[in-house]
Subunit: 231 residues, 4 copies
């Protein structure tokens, strides 16, 4: 009974993925963590969204070991576990193969910050981690994917509390937030930004990144001590 709250949270967040048109079939998964208990609830592997229920969410600890549940957790579970363990403020993680964000990941390009929609969420280009070394792929792949994401942020000196979305090269996006609902919200925003950036470059192949003053203004409207967006 003690995991019901995160099972419910993870269930509701997973069910948003098809509703927001971010997944085909089972191409995505969301998890919700309880840091006081040191565990997270995650979608079971290969189960269709229509067949999900809160009770089917698998409980896993931050080492990636299943604590409770009869179903096998998502095949990406170890990536979630690594991120929760290393990034202490993350409360929810979402992974999708949403169309435009995945196409940017496949093209191995960062998404340039072209407008205020992007700046409302972060002040830098959306990072894209380079594919990992062959030895790591052959080894503990999903575990290494977690560190691939973390190294990408370390190398670029980006704080995961400020940039809650990124692309794994040749693979697809990962997003996170204070809880599972915010992680899914960020997945939808990333897909929206990714689509608009693709069209922007189609309209103007020489399109320029937005200027710094405007980036700063829009980000601070929604974040930080002087924010004035929302209630």
């Amino acid at each position: 009974m003690k995991y019901e709250h995160i099972q419910q949270e993870a269930f509701e967040a997973n069910m948003q993925l098809p509703k927001l048109e971010l997944v085909l079939f089972t191409f995505g998964n969301v998890s919700a963590a309880d840091r006081s208990l040191g565990v997270f609830a995650i979608k079971p592997s290969g189960v269709a969204y229509n067949d999900l229920s809160p009770a089917k969410m698998v409980i896993v600890d931050f080492e990636g070991k299943t604590v409770e549940g009869n179903l096998r957790p998502s095949s990406d579970t170890l990536t979630h576990a690594v991120l929760y363990k290393q990034w202490e403020n993350v409360g929810g993680i979402a992974h999708t193969h949403s169309t435009y964000a995945t196409a940017w990941a496949q093209s191995q390009r960062e998404i340039p910050i072209y407008g205020t929609t992007h700046a409302d969420y972060c002040t830098v280009d959306i990072p894209c981690a380079a594919p990992m070394e062959d030895e790591k792929i052959k080894g503990n792949y999903e575990y290494e994917t977690g560190f691939q994401i973390i190294r990408c942020f370390e190398n670029k000196k980006i704080d995961p509390a400020e940039v809650e979305m990124m692309l794994v090269g040749n693979h697809a996006p990962f997003t996170w937030g204070k809880n599972a609902a915010k992680a899914v919200h960020n997945s939808a925003v990333l897909e929206y930004i990714a689509k608009m950036a693709f069209i922007t470059e189609g309209i103007n192949p020489a399109a320029q990144r937005m200027k710094e003053a405007l980036i700063k203004k829009h980000f601070e409207r929604k974040h930080g001590p002087d924010s004035y967006y929302g209630q």
Copy 2:
């Protein structure tokens, strides 16, 4: 009780945004003015469309001061206020981040008039205001955005009564009309025109603007003393 009619009008117009697929989450806002009372009703900031009601619409005067309402008005409120104050025939204003129109704004290009769909609404390319100076961005940003729009029309010698739509560079579209419903109608038309112009240039990178005689004919079919469209 005396503001109920514009609260209702603003509520209904805001609810059209998700229905017409012009917004993700809360990325948009519509207002409805009553010029005899010198106020407008506008969407509250950061409130999801599903949670809106007429009573939640905030009443604001043309200086941007809240006259009635417990919620904070949209963060773009000052832009609306400036436009109502400066442009005397405007009865409703809509602002969205709709996909294709926003991509044109991000590309900092005007939308060329390629066909009769565009000419049914205006006779010129859809204007795109250049980003404002850094000092203004750091100052009263939303207030300055209103003047950025107005200066754009003044510089191009365009009458806002004839062209009811435009793009703010690196940001997104603004549209207006005699009332809030017409402002939203124009947002949907602008998105449609923006998408078709993007595809047109993909099909023919050397596509030419439509010739003047045809522009004039189509505009006059729907507007002016000899119009013969509609009942």
Copy 3:
């Protein structure tokens, strides 16, 4: 009472336009003819699809004069009238501003025959009529649009019984058929072909027209004495 059958037919065909996502607001119209009576029923001008009813369809003769109905007929009525008068086998006509077909019209290019989907409907590139001379635009514009379409087919030596779809340059598509339902069917097919041709050229800018033997085979599967498609 004697026009009820074509009013019903025109009503049902018009209502298919929003259902097939071929129109925004009122950007389209369909008519249904009764050749024994020498008239056609057509959508009234500027009336939203949700407000239509069979009784609102306006009855017009092949000279373009209203025979019955209190509403003004579509502003494109004279184009329909000319086509009915000149092309004796046409029983229904549809006009939309559907996104991709209109973009091809705006680009002033014919749609190359790239695949069997296209060849199932016609054996040639979808024709695109060049914009008309300024004098005609200033004159009886909609009437001239009918002759613009007819001249296009005459110049290219195309039979409107074999090719039931075309583009008016800088404007949008017109389609027709034995009845109004077939005209709308052809509008949906044209939009589908137009979208696929746009993507085809994006994938391979040097894409080639399909070879003649395959064009002939697919067209004859569905048409002519040896057809073997359908029941």
Copy 4:
């Protein structure tokens, strides 16, 4: 009565095509085989999806002869028959004209393997069969289409048990699987991959195929003795 199970299976699989937005009108067909009986059930030709029922599915043997049913089977029936006869492990076949996959077929290019979504299903570029010789087109066209597909796989030394999807140049995709539901699943995945590959090349015209270690890893996660995806 003895064919009811495959009629039901074929009916349900056909009804998934419009639901998954893979067909316009009747542009697609699915069949379900019973190898112990040596027959398959297939959609009747030219019948709208809304008018289908299990009893309307036509029973055909692997030579392409109708065994039971009053309706004419799909005009592509002989292609299905050839594939069932030559490829012994196929239990269901789907054919659509889905937008992006058909555009790749029209462009006569294979779909490069750009990401893990693709590698989850197969380890090679999606093959595209070159158009067939004119003599064969004029002859038993649909029968020859079956052999066109088979020769394509033989020439490329691809096993149809490992790659369950392909494109017929200038025509459209064919997919298959252990049963009809899996064949339709593969059609949806192919369309998704095709769309993302188109966007990927738009974002980065120099995009590279994914590296072999990552292709192998993702394919083996879902397939083969060490797979660990799903329950």
